[in-house]
């Protein structure tokens, strides 16, 4: 009932599709309070990841797939999202170890490790108007779901729901980290693009897990 390496690869491909479909939306969100490159950067990174998945030997374990995604995003994204999502995926890869399949608890633990990585890298706290505002409640929801015996798909779905809410909660906030922090008060009343992309990525993972074999 767990998530195999094929499941992880499918989730990453699904993420690439979602990021590409939402490229313009993310660019627009970032244009208002940032440097208008978030959507393009993520699209570039995930497109490069898909090419690697298409062209190279398929990764052997969930950890290897996550690591491939991490290194590809780090070297191709170009903006803050590269090191942040890259670190998140690297920590997740370390967290799952050499497991051939991830169970619900394993997925929740990987999400926790990813959050710790993002916080360590970006030094942001909840309330700073960053992806941490989406990822923090997502991890809490994933852990609660895993503890109550949910499946992998249910854990990811709970995480995605909480991330959506967390992203929405960034709208009134004044940014304290990232490019938007230079705007001060003017950053309020806008959705943070990083929290939005985090919510989109988690939703794509949830849908991929729910649609395929869990």
């Amino acid at each position: 009932m767990g998530c195999s390496v094929e499941g992880v690869v499918a989730a990453l491909r699904s993420a690439a599709e979602v990021v590409t479909a939402h490229r313009d939306e993310l660019v627009e969100l970032d244009r208002v309070i940032g440097d208008a490159d978030h959507g393009e950067n993520l699209k570039r990174g995930f497109t490069a990841l898909v090419s690697k998945l298409d062209l190279s030997e398929p990764p052997a374990t969930p950890s290897a797939a996550l690591k491939l995604a991490a290194t590809t995003l780090i070297s191709t994204v170009g903006g803050a999202a590269g090191p942040l999502y890259g670190t998140a995926l690297l920590r997740a890869a370390t967290s799952v170890g050499d497991a051939a399949e991830l169970d619900a608890a394993g997925v929740a633990a990987a999400l926790r490790a990813a959050l710790d990585g993002v916080v360590a890298r970006g030094k942001a706290e909840p309330g700073d108007k960053t992806m941490v505002d989406a990822l923090t409640p997502a991890v809490a929801a994933a852990e609660a779901a895993a503890a109550s015996g949910s499946t992998v798909a249910e854990v990811l779905s709970a995480a995605a729901d909480a991330a959506d809410e967390g992203a929405a909660s960034t709208v009134p906030l004044v940014a304290r980290k990232g490019r938007a922090s230079y705007l001060g008060e003017r950053s309020a009343n806008h959705l943070d693009p990083g929290s939005r992309s985090t919510a989109l990525l988690l939703r794509s993972f949830a849908e991929s897990a729910g649609g395929g074999d869990r």
């Binding site: 780090i74 590269g82 090191p83 942040l84 670190t87 970006g122 990232g178």
Partner: protein, 239 residues
């Protein structure tokens, strides 16, 4: 063998310009720009930073300076992926002043710690300047607003008994010994005065073996600051 520098910027031209400026002050130091994306746009390129980091390392370590947040993250990732991450520091400093201060320190054979401290010291100098300007402006308006209950002025008079006086390493040690203290401290030699937290400023005093040095401090931790400075001088700056 000198500490190398890498300038990490979102813009290739910015990185090149800063590297050019810093290198002018330090002909024997490797100062490498790592700016912009491989495709030519704005952004930070992990591969470019990693490559520059390798090429700037001649055995004495590397200091990386950055322009904006994500450049810092990319630089930190590149350092973490080194075989020995303790051989390179990502330093939070104003890019131009920090690069010049670091290059000068590296040219003077400062250690990796010393070069990093020189770059970081440039930040404190910049902030101190800004605070001074701010205080001068508020002086006429309202007297109390500018100074944060400075309190009594504590003074310490010492004679330098270490061989090289306030050269790069001792200056860096002196500046660093005040870390974490809430105190304003300055060092006077003859009629020259410098912020005790500014490595460049201290070096500029040209204080030598046998020179009389007056250290003054204000603020809640003033006494502790002087105690630490005295201990450092008494230890001959661990020479």
């Amino acid at each position: 063998m000198k500490v190398g520098l890498v300038i990490v910027s979102h813009s290739a031209r910015l990185a090149e310009g800063v590297a050019e400026l810093a290198a002018q002050m330090a002909p024997d130091v490797i100062v490498l720009p790592a700016g912009g994306m491989a495709t030519g746009g704005l952004g930070t390129d992990y591969e470019a930073v990693s490559n520059a980091l390798d090429r700037a390392e001649s055995g004495a370590g590397v200091v990386l300076l950055y322009d904006l947040g994500s450049a810092r993250m990319t630089a930190e990732l590149a350092v973490e992926s080194l075989g020995d991450p303790s051989r390179a520091y990502v330093v939070d400093a104003p890019l131009v002043e920090g690069a010049v201060a670091a290059a000068v320190a590296a040219q003077g054979d400062a250690t990796l710690d010393g070069v990093a401290e020189a770059a970081a010291g440039a930040a404190r100098e910049a902030f101190a300047d800004a605070a001074e300007t701010g205080a001068a402006e508020t002086d006429s308006a309202s007297a109390g607003a500018g100074d944060q209950e400075a309190g009594p002025v504590h003074t310490l008079q010492v004679t330098l008994t270490n061989e090289v006086g306030l050269h790069a390493r001792p200056a860096a040690l002196l500046a660093r010994t005040l870390t974490g203290l809430t105190a304003e401290a300055s060092v006077e030699v003859g009629d020259q005065r410098a912020d005790a937290r500014s490595v460049l400023g201290l070096m500029g005093l040209n204080a030598r073996f046998g020179d009389q040095v007056v250290v003054t401090a204000t603020g809640p931790d003033a006494e502790e600051a002087l105690r630490r400075v005295k201990a450092l001088v008494d230890r001959n700056f661990d020479e």
